[in-house]
């Protein structure tokens, strides 16, 4: 039973990170029908910025949670700036062109950002400090769920609650929903959809950066390449849940997290990555729009 619970929580932890990144894919897709392939790179850049910040903080004698919070905050700001710029430079000029052009631009940006970090930093793995100290009161259950997992779960949960509140209740959130449901009608009620699109990229990037910092400090290393696999998995999660659907992204992330964790635990860790994509194929055969995705019909 303990083993099952351990796998359950480790799956939940991974899944919540996938979900956090998947939200960025799904929100952008929902509004401009673009798969932002460079989203994984924003996650990676978030982790790198956090690495630099934590290095500096250590010199100044800070430790543990203080560094984590500071690093996450600064990483989020950087990631937001990258996400914003990415949309301005690589996607906005192509709005109105065939969708394939924007998609190719996205792949190009992904390759560009990877190589930029490779050149500016290093092609090797860098050790990342474990910023989450073990808390004493977790000790009795540490064989099932450790402090890092708990911190990741709580952080992602808070992030998602904030996001839900933002989208459901605030003025900008309503503008985002309206734009997602009907972009040109949104303009006809006076919404500046360019700003809404920028904001969507910023929010997605902040969440990706938070994910990047948490994972890097959990796993203990970073490289220019970590955004690729995380990005692919999160994208799969978004498609699995139904791209464009926010609850779908969360559900898809959790399903993938759990299936990886259980496949690794009960079968073999070799099957960890295979299971994700098998699942994707199976679900898309039976529900092409994803689990919670809608086939959009319009009433005339």
């Amino acid at each position: 039973m303990d083993y099952f619970l351990e796998l359950f929580f480790s799956g939940l932890t991974r899944g919540s990170i996938y979900a956090l990144i998947a939200l960025g894919y799904t929100m952008v897709y929902g509004i401009i029908q673009l798969i932002n392939f460079a989203h994984g790179e924003i996650y990676m850049i978030g982790a790198f910025v956090a690495l630099i910040v934590s290095g500096v903080c250590t010199i100044y004698g800070l430790s543990g949670f203080a560094i984590l919070i500071l690093a996450a905050a600064i990483a989020a700001v950087y990631a937001a700036a990258y996400g914003f710029t990415l949309e301005r430079v690589a996607y906005r000029p192509l709005r109105g062109s065939p969708r394939l052009s924007a998609l190719i631009s996205a792949i190009g940006m992904s390759i560009f950002l990877q190589n930029y970090v490779l050149l500016a930093q290093t092609p090797d793995f860098l050790p990342f400090p474990r910023l989450i100290p073990d808390l004493a009161f977790i000790e009795p259950v540490a064989h099932i769920i450790g402090t890092p997992e708990l911190v990741i779960l709580i952080t992602t949960l808070i992030t998602m609650v904030v996001l839900t509140f933002l989208i459901k209740k605030t003025r900008v959130g309503k503008a985002m929903r309206a734009t997602q449901q009907d972009l040109s009608m949104a303009r006809l009620v006076g919404i500046n959809v360019d700003n809404v699109i920028s904001l969507t990229f910023i929010i997605g990037s902040v969440m990706a950066a938070i994910g990047g910092v948490l994972v890097a400090s959990y796993i203990g290393q970073v490289s220019f390449y970590i955004g690729f696999l995380a990005g692919i998995k999160a994208f799969t999660a978004a498609v699995l849940g139904g791209i464009g659907s926010i609850p779908g992204a969360v559900l898809g992330g959790l399903i993938i997290g759990w299936s990886e964790s259980f496949a690794a635990g009960y079968i073999s860790s070799d099957y960890e990555d295979v299971i994700t994509f098998v699942l994707l194929v199976v679900i898309l055969i039976f529900r092409p729009a994803g689990i919670l995705g809608k086939v959009h019909k319009q009433k005339v």
């Binding site: 309206a178 006809l188 006076g190 009433k299």
Partner: protein
């Protein structure tokens, strides 16, 4: 109040409007009629800034608005109810109405207008928590008009409000348009294929063919004009 001066509008290389001029005076109801593909929707989209004209000018109270963004045009009180109603399907009736007032800030006045639209269309009050996408066509049209009213329009642009509706509902909606015009002195520019109903409601009418204005006259004159009767009234 609204002056469209010699505009030409294109989709890529295809010219949809050719040298179109239309004038709508304050408090007036003006109808634009024409067959499928004549360019009626394009005219309204040019006014709203969604498909800006490539040549010509559009003036509101003498100030040019043809280079402004759609949200600025909304801010100036030119509000469109587009063809097909375009209700936000996954928002409730109440949220759809709120979106209509997106650029306004005075909560008190917004609430007052919310009450007003619910008195003129009581069905909206009953349906307020229902999702927009689940309303019937007639209810959606009432919601679309109400959403536009939530912006306190000075000029209301209506694109085929009768499309796909039963005669009884059409009558109800046209009565309401007249009432809105009378009660609030809202200027109305109405696009219709249903020429008979539109010209009965309007003060003046324009006829559009293949992107050009071919006739302008008082609405009752157009109703008795032989060409109009043959082409648009099926008589």
């Amino acid at each position: 109040m609204l002056r469209i001066e010699n505009i030409s509008t294109y989709y890529g290389n295809i010219q949809a409007l050719k040298d179109v001029s239309i004038e709508v005076a304050e408090g007036e109801i003006v109808a634009l009629i024409g067959a499928n593909g004549a360019g009626k929707t394009t005219t309204l989209m040019s006014v709203s800034g969604i498909v800006p004209p490539r040549a010509g000018r559009i003036l509101l109270d003498g100030d040019p608005i043809d280079e402004l963004s759609p949200e600025k045009i909304v801010k100036m009180g030119v509000i469109q109810v587009p063809e097909g109603r375009r209700i936000f399907p996954d928002m409730t009736v109440l949220e759809n109405l709120e979106m209509g007032a997106f650029l306004r800030t005075n909560k008190h006045l917004i609430q007052q207008d919310m009450n007003y639209v619910m008195t003129i269309f009581p069905i909206l009050e009953k349906r307020q928590r229902q999702l927009g996408g689940t309303l019937s066509g007639g209810e959606q049209q009432m919601l679309a008009i109400s959403r536009a009213l939530m912006a306190r329009p000075r000029v209301l642009l209506l694109d085929e409000p009768s499309l796909g509706l039963a005669p009884l509902i059409i009558k109800q909606i046209f009565d309401m348009i007249r009432q809105i015009n009378k009660e609030n002195n809202t200027t109305i520019f109405l696009v219709e294929q249903n020429a008979n109903q539109a010209l009965k409601l309007a003060d003046r009418g324009y006829v559009m063919e293949n992107g050009r204005i071919t006739l302008v006259d008082a609405a009752d004159k157009l109703l008795s004009n032989d060409e109009v009767r043959k082409a648009y009234l099926g008589i």
